[in-house]
């Protein structure tokens, strides 16, 4: 059969070239593949789910088998989710696998980003691929946010209201931005638009950028862990794509699928039977976004009650905490390779991975950002922490208000100092 193809498409030589591509074998190099395979699982399960999902909020009567919703009038979008969960073969399983894979996708992108940054794999000539990769992470977060709001349950409605507020808070442009995005006053016409964004626009962009990301990686070849006897700058050593990397990747993809499928059997990832459909002016206690946005929730909770008018607009907590701070972090992410290069100008191409503590500036920057995000994430659950520790919510709130500005710079300084102390190892 391959001969038949080759006679028509002449792919023997390119196939051999591809099959002989070398991949260094270390587990930390597999994190990007986890992101890729979880994206494939998302697309496959997503196509199935899209067949049954209806993005309209018009009321319909649910006539399926769920006891909680039998005969009730529900927004069509929520009714389609109940139907998927109770009346479609494999529907609930695929809903849960889809949701679990989204957690893995975003987590893998973050872990992969950390590996790339800590080993210096974003340095020349790989800056472009780093920027593309960071964009992929942001698109993944956007997909995760739009996706977990598609069921239009009470948590989704609350989350979308916060988004509406954040858009409104933008100086001067707030009202047209929010009304334009939502197609009217909240909730407006947001569900069909969110649907298009989640099902078409973002996956298309992600797939396209992933392809470019992989093509550039293939062209530039992989970074290499330092090895005695091999000049990592000239050669990359490892296993060939065929058969060994292919076997490893296949095993990883199947293992990932198995883990996600088992988790769907054990954890009700996306079940919404109790949460119920979103109703205007209705919310629930313990309402938070998904884990990767907990940190924004944390900023909104601990930001002090300060709002001031300046130059004909308002600077409010949601603006500073929910819009400006995230934008600043994203900008820092994009700028980082160039910031580090100014601090540590090292001309020429770099193909050998570094130890995470090799560059004190880098160790400090990563430690500072990680500590900030972890603290803010914890602050997003400050009421749960207060309850668990038997403390008052107010004292926990103040603890975070003090820790969040102080701890990240301290952590950055400490990590950089530790890295410098270890510095003799690499001279």
């Amino acid at each position: 059969m391959l001969d038949t193809l080759d006679e028509r498409v002449a792919l023997r030589r390119p196939a051999r070239h591809l099959a002989n591509k070398v991949f260094p074998s270390h587990w930390s190099f597999l994190l990007g593949e986890v992101a890729l395979f979880s994206f494939m699982i998302l697309v496959a399960t997503g196509v199935f789910l899209t067949m049954f999902y209806r993005p309209s909020t018009a009321p319909v009567v649910y006539t399926g088998t769920s006891a909680i919703y039998a005969g009730r009038e529900l927004p069509e979008v929520f009714a389609s989710i109940v139907r998927l969960s109770h009346d479609v073969d494999g529907g609930l399983l695929f809903r849960r696998i889809h949701r679990a894979s989204s957690h893995v996708f975003i987590g893998a992108c973050i872990a992969h980003l950390l590996r790339v940054v800590l080993t210096g794999a974003f340095r020349r000539p790989r800056e472009l691929n780093y920027l593309i990769g960071l964009t992929l992470l942001l698109l993944a977060v956007g997909s995760g946010y739009s996706g977990h709001n598609l069921p239009y349950d009470v948590l989704a409605g609350t989350s979308l209201r916060i988004l509406y507020t954040l858009l409104l808070s933008v100086p001067y442009l707030g009202e047209p931005l929010a009304l334009g995005a939502f197609g009217g006053e909240f909730p407006g016409d947001i569900m069909p638009r969110l649907f298009v964004v989640h099902v078409l626009a973002l996956p298309g962009l992600i797939a396209g950028l992933m392809t470019v990301h992989l093509l550039i990686l293939g062209r530039q070849t992989h970074t290499q862990l330092p090895r005695t006897g091999i000049d990592g700058a000239q050669r990359v050593v490892g296993e060939p794509l065929w058969p060994w990397q292919a076997a490893r990747s296949t095993g990883l993809a199947l293992g990932l699928g198995a883990t996600v499928a088992l988790s769907a059997a054990l954890v009700p990832w996306s079940d919404v039977d109790l949460h119920g459909p979103f109703e205007i002016a209705q919310t629930t206690n313990t309402a938070q976004p998904d884990w990767f946005l907990f940190w924004v929730e944390g900023v909104l909770r601990i930001y002090p009650p300060i709002e001031f008018h300046v130059a004909g607009t308002v600077v409010s907590g949601p603006l500073v905490g929910g819009v400006l701070l995230p934008l600043a972090l994203v900008a820092l992410g994009y700028a980082y390779p160039f910031l580090e290069r100014r601090r540590h100008p090292e001309p020429g191409d770099h193909h050998v991975a570094q130890h995470p503590l090799q560059i004190p500036f880098r160790a400090g920057a990563v430690a500072g950002v990680v500590v900030l995000l972890v603290l803010l994430t914890l602050a997003g659950g400050n009421d749960v922490i207060a309850r668990l520790l038997g403390l008052s919510t107010e004292s926990v709130l103040w603890a975070f208000r003090i820790a969040v500005p102080l701890a990240p710079p301290l952590a950055a300084w400490g990590a950089a100092a530790h890295a410098r102390a270890q510095g003799r190892r690499w001279t």
């Binding site: 587990w27 006891a67 490893r248 009700p268 039977d273 109790l274 884990w291 659950g381 919510t393």
Partner: protein
């Protein structure tokens, strides 16, 4: 080489299982269990129980002990009988340890409670009637619960906080009559819902839904619907499990060795 790898995989699984086992009780947000549980000794009369467990704070004459903190308590005279029944059913009263504000296991048997309520009702002229349990519609209950109750008690009935330091108790699977009574009476910080806002039939619907919260099909790990904090913990465990798969996959392949 093989042994080290499988040992590592096993230890990872063991670790993950241990963490799950530790986290699960929290994720289920079970109310804390009192060490004493039910008060023992059958057949003690209502008056006896009152003098033993209630008089210290509410006074032997039900007029209350003025002040705040331990040893003080509001008067019971003229209170609604449903209020007294409710706090006894949920174990909120009597307070045997200093931890107020946690819905606990009921301290008395059904018979003892009934006797205590009957005696208190006649001794202190409590008003109103005790409700009689009725079946309700789970479907209507979800709609009403979401509209009136979820804001405080959470859409999955797991409770939360309300204002600085006020704990909202979980209601899933709570004694159904206690739920009805609490809705009508509005004990402690809870607002009251009278018939014009929620009819009797509607309250029994809400009760039916709170029971459904614990009879809903659970996963083999005993997890039902999660709030986002629980989901974050689970996502963390899932990512750890995937990391385990990555570590195992990243090991060198097991080549059946040549016999030299």
């Amino acid at each position: 080489m093989d042994r080290t790898r499988s040992q590592r995989a096993r230890s990872l699984i063991a670790w993950a299982v241990t963490v799950v086992a530790v986290v699960l009780p929290w994720s289920a947000t079970a109310p804390s269990r009192a060490q004493t549980g039910e008060v023992s000794a059958a057949g003690r009369g209502g008056e006896q129980l009152y003098q033993l467990y209630c008089a210290t704070c509410h006074g032997t004459d039900g007029a209350g002990i003025p002040g705040a903190g331990v040893g003080a308590g509001p008067p019971l005279r003229g209170l609604e009988v449903a209020y007294v029944d409710q706090v006894l059913r949920t174990g909120r009263m009597p307070i045997l340890e200093p931890s107020v504000g946690v819905v606990d296991q009921p301290r008395f048997t059904d018979g003892e409670r009934a006797g205590l309520v009957a005696w208190t009702s006649s001794a202190f002229d409590l008003v109103g009637d005790l409700p009689v349990m009725r079946e309700g519609s789970v479907a209507h209950g979800q709609e009403l619960y979401g509209r009136h109750c979820a804001a405080c008690h959470g859409s999955t009935g797991s409770g939360g906080t309300s204002g600085d330091g006020v704990t909202v108790p979980p209601v899933r699977g709570l004694d159904p009559v206690a739920v009805f009574e609490a809705t009508r009476v509005g004990p402690f910080e809870m607002p009251r819902f009278e018939a014009e806002v929620l009819t009797d039939e509607q309250v029994w619907d809400v009760v039916a839904f709170t029971q459904e919260m614990t009879t809903l099909e659970a996963t083999p790990l005993g997890i039902r619907e999660m709030n986002r904090v629980t989901m974050t913990v689970m996502a963390g465990l899932l990512l750890l499990a995937v990391l385990g798969v990555v570590l195992v996959t990243g090991r060198p392949v097991p080549v059946p060795e040549k016999d030299d």
